[in-house]
């Protein structure tokens, strides 16, 4: 099976060097586009490929790009931003790409920049990815030396500058408008939308923000064509996807598989199934901000469209498994503690609501909760849900909570009735 994202990677964990990348066909898509395609043709090919953003929301990439103002009289510079903040708990897919094949990301960004006629590109990287930082820094330098970046790239007349911005913690920086504030040297609170970044982004200039994995798909779409790319998938959404599994499975990890691989295949064939002595209870299919799914959902294909059938979302495609010896209340408490700490504090429902939720869950987990708390928690999932907050952090936080209240209700009630956590040792 074709693995455009990871197929060429080395097995020893080192980054593919520029030479190795070129020998594996790297930068040939860029040459092809710069020589024989117009920016519009590149955009159309990406549109045709049905590539959807890999940052979690699955927005069609071609459509996003089509909102970028084009032409000679638009505000400049125009920006292209790579979101490599990857702080969604349970998500570890971009790390693989950034560390294993930095030039693939760079080529994808230059191609995207060409399609959008961008002048300056930023990679926004979380601080903790030290290995990736070093490798990206080096790859950018190499790309400048080989004129894949800089002025008049490969004699085409197109120019693009690229910079690496290394952040300093805080999950909210991954929200695309907070990220733009962070790049401007401001506190990283989200901005109101509209205007969308394409119209008014970095320093008020036209800006496109995409996830790192999204950009990594572009060279292969341009190199091999949209039809080839669509053929990689088992569903209508094009390409392959980096899926992952963590939790008590035999072989946790991340793998590049056809888009539309089922959760069961992921869990059993690739993750090796549950560890001995543990049973599957449920999972968050795509990071901490997705609803739980149950055993009965495992045969659903993982793509943005199909996952809606489960009441959950594809999210980042990295599944976190809940086993039968782990307390679901404790797990949700852990998740809400994360969201409460990472809330930027800008809007009231999120700033005040999340700590309250944490307090209540903590009381239930310690055996000090009451049945009426469950009703209040239920209300909170609506009050902090879509439409009531300034950004998607709080609604995302409510997804695992609302589905846990539904699927693991008996566990919540048992904590309250027995006045203790039934999963904790002791008699």
């Amino acid at each position: 099976m074709d693995k455009p994202l990871t197929g060429a990677m080395r097995s020893d964990g080192q980054a593919l060097s520029l030479k190795e990348y070129e020998d594996a066909g790297g930068y040939s898509a860029l040459r092809k586009a710069l020589k024989g395609m117009t920016p519009h043709e590149v955009l159309e090919e990406v549109k045709k490929s049905n590539l959807r953003g890999r940052g979690g929301a699955g927005f069609p990439t071609g459509l996003k790009w089509s909102f970028m103002p084009m032409g000679a009289d638009v505000a400049r510079p125009k920006y292209l931003v790579c979101n490599a903040d990857e702080m969604e708990p349970g998500t570890f897919k971009d790390r693989l790409l950034l560390e294993g094949n930095p030039h693939l990301l760079l080529e994808g960004m230059v191609l995207s920049g060409f399609a959008l006629d961008a002048d300056i590109a930023y990679i926004f990287l979380r601080w903790e990815y030290r290995v990736a930082a070093e490798r990206l820094e080096r790859a950018i330098e190499e790309a400048y030396q080989s004129n894949y970046l800089g002025k008049n790239i490969l004699g085409s007349g197109y120019s693009l500058d690229m910079r690496l911005h290394v952040s300093a913690g805080r999950y909210i920086c991954g929200e695309e408008t907070a990220l733009l504030n962070a790049l401007e040297g401001k506190r990283a609170v989200p901005r109101s939308k509209p205007p969308h970044p394409q119209v008014s982004g970095l320093w008020g200039k036209p800006t496109v923000v995409n996830n790192a994995e999204t950009y990594c798909n572009v060279p292969h779409i341009i190199g091999n064509g949209a039809d080839w790319y669509k053929g990689l998938s088992r569903t209508d959404e094009g390409g392959t996807k980096l899926y992952g599994v963590s939790g008590r499975v035999k072989r946790p990890g991340a793998w590049e598989l056809p888009m539309g691989t089922t959760m069961r295949e992921l869990l059993e064939e690739h993750g090796g199934g549950m560890r001995d002595g543990y049973k599957f209870r449920g999972a968050l299919p795509g990071g901490a901000s997705t609803d739980f799914i149950l055993e009965e959902h495992l045969d659903v294909r993982m793509d943005f469209e199909s996952m809606q059938k489960t009441g959950s979302r594809m999210g980042t495609g990295t599944m976190i498994v809940l086993d039968d010896k782990t307390c679901p209340v404790g797990m949700v408490l852990n998740l809400q503690t994360f969201f409460a700490r990472e809330s930027c504090g800008w809007c009231t429902p999120c700033r005040e609501g999340l700590p309250w939720i944490v307090k209540m869950l903590d009381a239930i987990e310690r055996g000090e909760g009451g049945m009426e708390d469950l009703e209040i928690l239920q209300q909170q999932t609506r009050l902090l849900g879509p439409g009531n907050t300034f950004c998607a952090l709080a609604p995302g936080a409510m997804e695992p909570l609302q589905s846990a209240l539904k699927y693991f209700k008996a566990d919540f009630e048992k904590h309250i009735r027995e006045r203790r956590c039934p999963y904790k040792g002791g008699v």
Binding site: R187, S246, N334
Partner: protein, 154 residues
């Protein structure tokens, strides 16, 4: 007062960025790399170079969890307390660390050797539980392994 070397590094960051203010996080990190943390004097001096008010820069500095506005130990332990690590016995790892170091999360050992900070997902969830010491990532932790790791840091 910033040293000549620090000043040079801050200037380098200013040169690399399109606007002065955009270099704020990098400038803070320059100081932190040299001194371990960022003091009020540092904020005052840096804010001038960045064309910001001290309050504005402080608001940025305190926003980030990895910019330290208080002194820290020689080595900062960042232990992941997010969900996959929590499932894989983060709490037992934390307990081991706190009892071995004799400090609670957020504190520094009296000999100034370690500061212990729980942080969000380190993106190593398939190798949980995970932590960083300084700039190095350690994964698949167990109490014995933690002991071996800590012994490497003096």
């Amino acid at each position: 007062m910033l040293t000549e070397e620090e000043k040079k590094e801050v200037e380098e960051e200013l040169r690399k960025n399109e606007r002065k203010k955009a270099a704020a996080v990098e400038a803070l990190k320059v100081v932190q790399r040299h001194r371990g943390w960022v003091s009020q004097d540092d904020i005052d001096e840096l804010s001038e170079a960045l064309d910001m008010t001290p309050d504005e820069l402080d608001a940025v500095a305190t926003f980030y969890s990895l910019i330290f506005r208080k002194p820290v130990g020689r080595h900062v332990i960042l232990i992941c307390d997010s969900v996959s690590c929590w499932i894989m016995e983060y709490e037992r790892m934390l307990q081991h660390l706190t009892s071995r170091l004799g400090i609670r999360p957020g504190e520094t050992t009296s000999d100034g050797r370690f500061t212990l900070l729980p942080v969000a997902c380190l993106g190593a969830c398939d190798r949980a539980p995970a932590m960083m010491v300084g700039e190095t990532l350690y994964t698949d932790l167990a109490p014995e392994k933690i002991d071996e790791i800590l012994d490497k840091y003096k």
